[in-house]
């Protein structure tokens, strides 16, 4: 049965997914399948085989222990993802990089 909600993408991270398939267990609408091929981390990631059945209930997202999966419903959500990156992640990663440089130079105690 096709869903009323149009879901754009169920993004599954190559970096984070460990292939536990709790997302598949959690999905009440039988949307996800295990892919045939292994990725560069040796994981057969899940993918949205029947995305038209997806109700965007996000149970798959909530039960994923590794923050590897996100249901992307619309453009607004995509923008939000980028905004969060801009606002929280970039500055943090810059700090980490700076810290690493300072540690390399051996004066780590000067920061903070």
């Amino acid at each position: 049965m096709a869903s009323q909600v149009k879901v754009q993408q169920i993004a599954v991270s190559d970096k984070l997914c460990k292939g536990c398939y709790l997302c598949i267990w959690a999905c009440p609408w039988d949307v996800l399948e295990i892919s045939e091929e292994r990725n560069w981390r040796g994981v057969k990631k899940p993918y949205a085989a029947r995305i038209d059945q997806c109700r965007a209930c996000r149970l798959c997202e909530w039960y994923c222990p590794d923050f590897a999966l996100q249901v992307i419903v619309d453009e607004k959500e995509k923008r939000e993802l980028l905004e969060v990156e801009e606002k929280y992640e970039r500055p943090w990663l810059e700090r980490v990089r700076k810290r690493d440089e300072i540690i390399k130079e051996g004066v780590w105690w000067l920061e903070d």
């Binding site: 991270s13 970096k15 984070l16 267990w25 909530w62 039960y63 222990p65 590897a68 969060v84 929280y88």
Partner: protein, 283 residues
């Protein structure tokens, strides 16, 4: 389409040290779900609450959970997380102190600190991640291992009865108590929200799946999906459990909000009052 190579969840981008992820937990380990419960609770509580939160954890797989957050976190000695947190709360009562401990960490080696933190009713939120054994060290028996269960240190079956954390802490004087499993995602998140806002000692026990040890040794379910299914089928809400006999409840997890009382004074308030009194005496 968002590229999937380096994709990270929006919650992780906002709150977690993504540069050290994926986390060190085994595939399917429930500790990641507990992390998400905590983060979603704080997402709903708002930035202000998050900004004045400090995490403290003990030793064990569960002790690693808050270390992935972009927040100050102290990874203390085994069993001593509450001792550290008590000092922290006493000196800075304005902070939200959230402690994450394992079952062995809190009820085994740290059992003494646990009952006294509850007795003092100090305003700490304790999140106790129960996997029914010691997992970091390879699957030894803990105070929550079910009777008869085989572990590394109980090859003939566990002969010891286990602690009921909720009864223990109720008697000791805690003022907010709840127990959930990783299956009860929304309920646990809501309890964490309440506990952070609560004035007094709040403890939430979350039974989580450890497929690697509890799954293989205790439940005979090495697949995390089977473990979650088991939690779903074997947890009974508090209200339903009231009308059942002890035989019917054997081997079940009784979940729900056990206690929420406001009639006991919080410890740091008592401390401040003492301070005022001592000052009044001209010292």
């Amino acid at each position: 389409m968002i590229p999937e190579a380096e994709f990270e969840h929006v919650l992780a981008k906002k709150y977690m040290r993504t540069e050290i992820m994926p986390h060190a937990f085994c595939p399917g380990c429930g500790l990641g779900i507990i992390e998400r419960m905590i983060l979603m609770a704080f997402e709903e509580l708002g930035q202000e609450e998050w900004d004045r939160t400090v995490f403290v954890s003990g030793i064990g797989c569960s002790g690693w959970t808050p270390l992935y957050f972009r927040r100050d976190a102290a990874h203390t000695l085994h069993g001593r997380a509450l001792a550290f947190a008590t000092a922290l709360k006493a000196s800075r009562p304005d902070l939200n102190v959230v402690v994450v401990m394992g079952d062995g960490d809190s009820m085994g080696i740290g059992g003494n600190h646990l009952i006294h933190a509850a007795r003092r009713n100090i305003g700490i939120t304790a999140i106790i991640a129960t996997n029914m054994l010691y997992s970091l060290t390879g699957g030894q028996m803990s105070p929550t291992t079910p009777e008869g269960a085989r572990t590394n240190t109980t090859p003939y079956g566990n002969i010891e009865p286990n602690f009921d954390l909720m009864e223990l802490l109720k008697a000791a004087g805690a003022t907010y108590l709840a127990r959930w499993t990783t299956y009860h995602f929304i309920q646990a998140k809501n309890s964490i929200k309440k506990a952070v806002k609560h004035k007094g000692f709040a403890a939430i026990e979350i039974v989580f799946q450890c497929p690697t040890y509890a799954g293989r040794y205790i439940l005979n379910r090495p697949d995390p999906r089977d473990m979650l299914q088991w939690f779903k089928e074997n947890s009974i809400p508090l209200g339903v459990a009231k009308n059942k006999s002890p035989e019917e409840l054997k081997g079940k997890i009784i979940v729900g909000e056990y206690l929420h009382r406001t009639d006991r004074k919080e410890y740091t308030e008592r401390l401040r009052e003492l301070e005022e009194r001592a000052k009044g005496k001209g010292r």
